[in-house]
């Protein structure tokens, strides 16, 4: 019996989504074909587009299907930047938070390294919040040269939720479009594209019970994008490639369910999370929670997210020992060839490299139960003791 506590990495598909996926996979038809089979596939895609738009508070024409979150982020950052620079060569600067996922961070750094962009980073506070005043200050000074602002909706490591609408309003006051990576938020937090004021928003299916390999960039109709890949001109001419009818269908089914259950599920997950955090901190091992955590809070932090710092340990030792005890977790930070590096998110939040070493991200999802939390809390004391011994030896 294993306790899977890594739902922010990926979560099991909902049975209804699997059913819908399998049924759609069995049918032939390229949505771009003009015959009956093609029209049927197209109808499935468009019906899914409408359902997804409705669930996200967007218009169907604003949904650009992609292969997932990474592609959508790249399309927003690179495609959005290139389009804006093309229209106004003076706008070469990106304004980006220091706690983005690598799918945003790396395209930004690529643009900077290749001489296509400059960047101003918005550093968060110790909680992981980006201050609207900081954005206002940067834009007051440099607004005329900015192409795009991007701030992650809910951070993938510490779960901190950003004041997106407030930030978007500031960007708009300077005539600058705003993007947000909402991969960790969608299906878990109330999220309305139109009301948020965003111009671009990234979502993906597999973090909410849909399949891996399908996501979308929600792009306001006014937003110009340069395609990353050229081809058949699907998806408003910005995302060529045969549409994955089965994938988007399963995405729509999973999203509908996640949104329908969201408020009840959020309260359930918050209760589990609070028990997990309180239990870990109550072991007398010096464990702290990173980011802002208030018991019962369902707004400032993704409900299923717990992020713990275990002083005097290395995250990879904790991960191994928990894995051996049947508890599957993440260190939260990106890996290089399987080696966790100190998290850029924690460093940006002001934690030292030493503090950031013993990081554990635990993320609960729709199948999580009290038994998962119990398994983690039962394993933790022995695991921490061993991991500390290992850290002292190295």
């Amino acid at each position: 019996m294993t306790a899977y506590l890594d739902h922010a990495a990926t979560t099991p598909m909902r049975p209804v989504a699997i059913e819908a996926y399998a049924a759609a996979l069995a049918r032939v038809g390229n949505p771009s074909s003009l015959h009956t089979a093609g029209r049927a596939a197209r109808a499935l895609v468009e019906e899914s587009r409408e359902r997804i738009a409705a669930a996200l508070g967007a218009r169907p024409s604003e949904i650009i299907f992609t292969s997932g979150g990474t592609e959508a982020d790249n399309l927003a950052i690179k495609g959005g930047h290139w389009a804006r620079v093309g229209a106004d060569p003076a706008r070469r600067r990106l304004v980006v938070s220091g706690i983005e996922h690598h799918a945003v961070l790396d395209p930004v750094e690529h643009l900077v390294e290749t001489g296509s962009a400059q960047v101003s980073w918005l550093e968060p506070d110790r909680c992981g919040h980006v201050a609207p005043d900081d954005l206002a200050r940067v834009l007051d000074e440099l607004g005329s040269e900015v192409s795009l602002v991007s701030v992650i909706w809910a951070n993938n490591e510490v779960g901190t939720v950003q004041p997106i609408a407030e930030l978007a309003e500031i960007a708009h006051a300077h005539g600058i479009p705003m993007h947000s990576d909402a991969v960790q938020a969608v299906g878990h937090l109330p999220l309305e594209f139109a009301a948020s004021g965003l111009d671009l928003m990234t979502v993906t299916a597999h973090k909410l019970g849909g399949p891996v390999g399908v996501g979308a960039l929600v792009a306001g109709r006014q937003v110009a994008l340069v395609p990353l890949a050229h081809g058949g001109g699907q998806e408003r001419q910005v995302r060529s490639g045969t549409l994955d009818a089965a994938g988007v269908h399963a995405f729509a089914v999973a999203l509908d369910l996640a949104v329908a259950e969201r408020d009840v599920e959020a309260k359930r997950l918050v209760a589990l999370r609070d028990r997990l955090v309180e239990g870990a901190m109550g072991l007398g091992l010096g464990i702290t929670v990173s980011g802002c955590w208030r018991p019962g809070d369902v707004e400032e932090r993704v409900p299923g997210n717990a992020h713990l710092l275990v002083p005097g340990t290395d995250g990879d030792s904790l991960l191994y020992l928990l894995d051996a005890a049947g508890v599957e977790v993440s260190t939260g930070s990106a890996c290089q060839a399987g080696v966790p590096r100190p998290s850029h998110v924690l460093l940006a939040m002001g934690y030292s490299e030493r503090e950031a070493r013993g990081a554990l991200r635990l993320s609960l999802g729709h199948p999580s139960t009290d038994a998962d939390v119990d398994a983690f809390l039962a394993a933790l004391p022995g695991v921490v003791e061993r991991a500390r011994r290992a850290a002292r030896r190295s």
Binding site: L319, Y320, Q336, G338, V339, R389, A390
Partner: protein
């Protein structure tokens, strides 16, 4: 026992891990990340530490059905192996980084971490044998494949380290290991052996040292002190080296010339004829013994470089802990910084680092 199988991604460590599992141990595969710049994909005929190697190791672990992790020992490796390697060359010595890696990384940093995490031992794909001695102590012996025997680079291990080591390939030849890997369906069965120093993947040691140390020009002189030419760094030379001396004058009286001495402090490389290379008296420091420190004069076999012949010798531990080794015949290419490993039959008795004073 609970065993960490160190898995480089090569064929040897793959078969070693499989054999540990067959022997009934609880095995976890661990690949060591030893470089910060591992983000290269290349056919790893030379060296280690590429993403491809980590992936190959992972696939073997998958096939065996054992857990697999990558442990980051890059900092320790940089300090204990790479910096040591550079410092040794800078001091005019010729280090053996594989030996240092076994001593400081695989059977120190890795073993310590494994023990702390609750493992009992580390297994590697080295060609050497561990044999239980008459008193139950673990003895290190040569592997049965004379072409692959790696006991020389393990000779630095002490009794404590050996007590937590497994070398499951010691009874096999390389051909047998490859055949076994193929029979087990490992994709790495035909992967080429690595030959070079893993942190110098292009094989250009002199270029690596030049980048690390900068140019340190000096004179190339004869044993009489006559200046024969100039060089850009003594670290580009090894005792016994014949090629690449960069001299504009011909040979000494028609006889081939070799590096016979390196004086790093004076930036001087000394050139002489072959007869000067024959050494029969060696002093070793930093001696490591596989068991108790031997008393009195020992009749041993001595090996002075990784793929060198063993020659009969007598060894005596001096009062200050140094070891004096008298070889029964003159041996060429004895380089300070290399290890002299002492054998009793196939058993490793101990080792020491060869010093300048001979």
């Amino acid at each position: 026992m609970r065993v960490v199988a160190a898995m480089s991604g090569g064929v040897d460590s793959a078969v070693a891990a499989a054999r540990m599992l067959d022997a009934g141990h609880e095995v976890v595969g661990v690949h060591l990340a030893l470089s910060r710049s591992a983000a290269t994909l290349r056919e790893s005929a030379r060296g280690c530490c590429t993403l491809e190697d980590a992936g190959d190791a992972r696939r073997v672990a998958d096939r065996l059905g054992v857990p697999f992790y990558v442990w980051d020992l890059a900092d320790r490796f940089a300090t204990d192996v790479v910096e040591d390697f550079v410092a040794e060359y800078a001091a005019g010595r010729t280090p053996n980084p594989c030996l240092r890696c076994n001593e400081k990384i695989k059977f120190a940093a890795l073993l310590d971490k494994a023990l702390a995490l609750g493992f009992d031992a580390v297994a590697t794909g080295h060609y050497a044998r561990i044999v239980e001695g008459p008193g139950g102590e673990r003895e290190l012996h040569r592997g049965v494949d004379p072409a692959k025997d790696q006991s020389y680079v393990l000779g630095v291990l002490d009794a404590d380290q050996l007590a937590h080591a497994f070398f499951p390939l010691g009874d096999l030849t390389k051909d047998e290991v490859r055949a076994e890997a193929a029979a087990r369906g490992f994709a790495v069965a035909k992967k080429p052996d690595s030959h070079d120093i893993c942190f110098i993947p292009d094989g250009d040691t002199r270029g690596f040292l030049t980048r690390a140390l900068g140019e340190r020009p000096g004179e190339v002189v004869s044993t009489d002190g006559e200046v024969l030419g100039r060089h850009t760094g003594t670290y580009g030379f090894t005792i016994g080296q014949r090629r690449g001396l960069g001299l504009d004058r011909g040979s000494l009286d028609g006889r081939p010339r070799y590096v016979v001495g390196i004086d790093a402090r004076a930036h001087r490389v000394v050139i002489g004829t072959a007869d000067l290379l024959g050494i029969e008296d060696i002093v070793g420091v930093d001696a490591r013994w596989c068991g108790a420190v031997p008393a009195g004069e020992l009749e041993v076999g001595a090996q002075v470089r990784a793929h060198g012949e063993e020659v009969p010798a007598t060894a005596l531990v001096l009062a200050d802990g140094r070891v004096r080794v008298r070889l029964a015949q003159r041996v060429r290419g004895v380089a300070p910084g290399q290890a002299v490993v002492l054998y009793d039959g196939t058993r490793v008795v101990g080792s020491a680092t060869i010093t300048q004073e001979y």
